[in-house]
C-alpha cells in the first residue's frame, strides 16, 4: 500500500505543476495589457510603466511563473478585476451553495442510479430493463440546460411546487431541489449504466452461484454478496461526478439563479474578469486531482487485487 501511495503521489505532483503552468499560460495569452486594465484607458506612459514594475510584468517569463507559483502556494488566487476582492475569499463565500447543490444532486444520483442499475441487472433483457435503459440513454443525451428549463417550466411555473428563481436569504432546501434534480438525474443515468453492467458481471461470478447453492435468500445474495462487490467501480464514477457538477453548476445556477460558484464563474465570464475565471478553473482542476487521488487510494485499499494490478500497470 505504501509503494502504491508513493507511486500514485509521484504521478500527481507533475500534473499539479503542469496544471498551474497551463493556467498561467492561458492568463498570459489573454489579449490586452493587464497594467492598462488596472490603470484605465487614459493612463500616461509613466503610470503604466510603474504599474508594470509593481506587478512584475517586466520580469522574464520563468520568473513570473515562479512568483506565480509561490503566490498560489500561499493561497493567493489573485484579485477580481471587477470588484477588486480576492478571488479565494469570494469563492469561499459562494462555495456552500454549490456544495449543498452538489450534495443533494449526488444523493439523487446515487439513489436513482443504483436503484435503476439494480433493477436493470436483475430484469436483464426484459421490459423493465428496457425502460431503465431508455431512461438512462435519454438522461445522458439531454443537455443540462434543456432538462433544467423543462423542470423549471413544469414544476415551478405550471405546478408551482417550487420557487421559479430567486434565492432568498432564509436558505431553505426548496430552491436547491430542482437544480439538484437536474444535475443529479444526468449523473444517475451514467451511474445506472455502470451499476447495471457491474452487477451483471458480479452476478455471473462463481461465489454468487455458491451462495445460491447454499440456499441463501435472493435478497440476501443480491444485497450482501452482489451489491457490495458491484459497487466498487461505482466509487470512481461518483468521484468523477464531483467534477462534472462544477461544469453543470455553471449552467444550472445560471438558470435557477443560485449564488454559487457556477454563477460566480458565469458572471466573471460575462464581465471578462480573467483572474476570477482562472482561479475557478484552477480550483476545479485541483479538486478533481485530489478527489481522484483519494478515490484511487480508497480503491486500492478496499481491493488489494486491484492495487497489484494497478502497480503492475503503472510499472512503466
Amino acid at each position: 500500500m505504501l509503494e502504491f501511495t508513493i507511486r500514485r503521489l509521484s504521478a500527481t505532483i507533475p500534473v499539479l505543476i503542469g496544471i498551474l503552468l497551463i493556467a498561467f499560460i492561458v492568463l498570459y495569452m489573454i489579449p490586452g495589457d493587464p497594467a492598462q486594465t488596472i490603470a484605465g484607458p487614459r493612463a500616461d506612459a509613466a503610470t503604466l510603466a510603474r504599474i508594470s514594475e509593481e506587478m512584475g510584468l517586466n520580469q522574464p517569463l520563468y520568473q513570473r511563473f515562479s512568483s506565480y507559483l509561490s503566490r498560489i502556494y500561499h493561497g493567493n488566487l489573485g484579485d477580481s478585476a471587477v470588484s477588486g476582492k480576492p478571488v479565494l475569499e469570494s469563492v469561499i463565500e459562494k462555495l456552500p451553495y454549490t456544495l449543498k447543490l452538489a450534495a443533494i444532486a449526488m444523493t439523487f444520483s446515487i439513489v436513482l442510479g443504483i436503484l435503476a442499475g439494480i433493477i436493470s441487472a436483475i430484469t436483464q433483457g426484459r421490459w423493465l430493463d428496457r425502460v431503465c435503459t431508455v431512461f438512462s440513454v435519454t438522461g445522458i443525451s439531454i443537455p443540462v440546460f434543456l432538462s433544467g428549463l423543462v423542470f423549471l417550466y413544469v414544476f415551478a411555473v405550471k405546478f408551482r411546487w417550487f420557487p421559479t428563481s430567486g434565492f432568498r436569504a432564509d436558505n431553505t432546501l426548496m430552491p436547491f431541489i430542482l437544480p439538484a434534480f437536474t444535475l443529479g438525474i444526468r449523473s444517475a443515468a451514467f451511474l445506472a449504466r455502470i451499476v447495471r453492467s457491474s452487477m451483471i458481471e458480479v452476478l455471473n461470478q462463481d461465489f454468487i452461484r455458491t451462495a445460491r447453492a447454499k440456499g441463501l435468500s435472493p435478497a440476501r445474495i443480491l444485497f450482501k454478496h452482489g451489491l457490495v462487490n458491484a459497487l466498487i467501480p461505482v466509487i470512481t464514477v461518483i468521484g468523477l461526478d464531483l467534477s462534472s457538477y462544477l461544469n453543470g453548476s455553471v449552467i444550472v445556477e445560471t438558470i435557477f439563479d443560485l449564488p454559487g460558484i457556477g454563477r460566480f464563474a458565469m458572471d466573471a465570464i460575462l464581465q471578462r474578469d480573467y483572474p476570477v475565471i482562472q482561479g475557478i478553473v484552477l480550483l476545479g482542476a485541483l479538486v478533481f486531482i485530489l478527489v481522484n487521488l483519494v478515490v484511487d487510494l480508497l480503491y486500492a485499499w478496499i481491493n488489494p487485487k486491484i492495487r497489484d494490478e494497478m502497480l503492475g500497470k503503472t510499472a512503466r
Binding site: A11, P14, V15, G18, I19, I22, V26, M29, I30, P31, V137, T138, I140, S141, I142, P143, V144, F145, L146, L149, V150, L152, Y153, V157, F190, R193, I194, R196, S197, I200, S243, L246, N247, V250, I251, T254, I255, A265, M266, I269, R272, Y274, I277, Q278, I280, V281, G284, A285, F288, I289, N292, R316
Partner: protein, 275 residues
C-alpha cells in the same frame, strides 16, 4: 461491413436511420428551409404567420429554417471537433502506448492535466482567449476532448505492443513507424470508430452548452443551443420555442449515443455494457 449490418439490432437500425436523416437535413438545408434563417423582421416578432411552419422567434426569424440550418452547424462543429481531437489523441496515444517507458509516463501526465480541468470551463476559457467563431469552438472542443481519446488509444496500443505478430514483425526488421502504421493502427480501428461516434454526441452537447451560454459561435448564426438560450426569455409565452431546438439536440445526441453503443457491442464485444 456486411456482417456489421447483419448484426445491427432493431434499435441500432433506428439510430442509424436517425443519423442518416440528420445528415440529409444538413446537406439539403437550402432546399428544406422555407426562409432565410438569418432574416430578421421586428414586425414578425414571436408571431405565427403563414409561410413560417413553426412561427417566428423574438427577432422575427423563421424558427423552422433555423432548426434546419442548425443541424448543419451541429454536425460540422461536432465532426471537426472530434476529428481534430482524434488526430491529437491518436498521435499521443499511439506514441505513448507503443513506446512505453518515460515517453509514456510523460505523455500520460500531460493527458492527466487536460483531464483534470473542468471541461466546460476550460472550453470557455479557450474561447474567451481566442474570440468567438466556429474555428474557436472547434479548437476549444478539441482541446477538451483529445485527452480522453489519447488515454483509450494508449491502453489499446499498450496491449497490442506485445502481440505476437508485432514481435514477429519486429524480428523481421520492420521499423517502428511501419509497425505502428500497419499493425497497431489497423487493429485499433474498431475502437477508434466507437470512441469517435460516441465522441460526436459529447461534442454536440458541449457545443450546445457553449452556445447556450453565449460563448459559442456568433449568436446570429442558427445554432440549437443558441436558440434555446434566446427562447428561454420568452418561455412563459412560447414554451415550444425552447422545446423545438432542445428536442433536436436531444435527438442528435441520442442517435449518436445509441449507434455508438451498438457499434461497440459489435466491434468490441469485450467492453459490452460499459460506457
Amino acid at each position: 461491413m456486411k456482417t456489421f449490418l447483419r448484426n445491427l439490432t432493431f434499435v441500432g437500425w433506428l439510430s442509424f436511420i436517425g443519423i442518416i436523416l440528420v445528415f440529409m437535413v444538413a446537406i439539403f438545408a437550402p432546399i428544406l428551409a422555407t426562409n432565410d434563417p438569418m432574416e430578421t423582421d421586428p414586425l414578425r416578432r414571436l408571431s405565427q404567420e403563414e409561410g413560417f411552419p413553426l412561427g417566428c422567434d423574438q427577432l422575427g426569424q423563421c424558427v423552422y429554417s433555423r432548426l434546419i440550418y442548425g443541424a448543419r452547424l451541429s454536425l460540422i462543429i461536432g465532426f471537426s471537433a472530434r476529428l481534430s481531437a482524434l488526430f491529437i489523441g491518436l498521435a499521443v496515444g499511439l506514441a505513448a502506448g507503443y513506446a512505453g517507458g518515460w515517453l509514456d509516463w510523460f505523455l500520460m501526465r500531460i493527458v492527466d492535466m487536460f483531464l483534470a480541468f473542468p471541461s466546460l470551463l476550460l472550453a470557455i476559457a479557450v474561447s474567451m482567449v481566442m474570440g468567438s467563431g466556429i474555428k474557436t469552438v472547434v479548437f476549444a472542443l478539441a482541446i477538451v476532448g483529445w485527452a480522453e481519446m489519447a488515454r483509450i488509444i494508449r491502453s489499446a496500443a499498450l496491449e497490442l505492443r506485445s502481440a505476437e505478430y508485432v514481435i514477429a514483425a519486429r524480428t523481421l526488421g520492420a521499423s517502428h513507424l511501419r509497425i505502428v502504421l500497419t499493425h497497431i493502427l489497423p487493429n485499433c480501428l474498431p475502437l477508434i470508430t466507437v470512441i469517435f461516434t460516441m465522441g460526436i454526441a459529447t461534442a454536440v452537447l458541449s457545443e450546445a452548452s457553449l452556445s447556450f451560454l453565449g460563448l459559442g459561435v456568433d449568436p446570429s448564426l442558427p445554432t440549437w443551443g443558441g436558440m434555446v438560450a434566446s427562447a428561454k426569455d420568452y418561455m412563459l409565452r412560447r414554451p415550444e420555442l425552447v422545446a423545438y431546438p432542445g428536442l433536436c439536440i436531444a435527438f442528435l445526441v441520442i442517435v449518436f449515443n445509441v449507434f455508438g453503443d451498438e457499434l461497440r457491442d459489435i466491434l468490441d464485444p469485450s467492453r459490452k455494457g460499459n460506457w
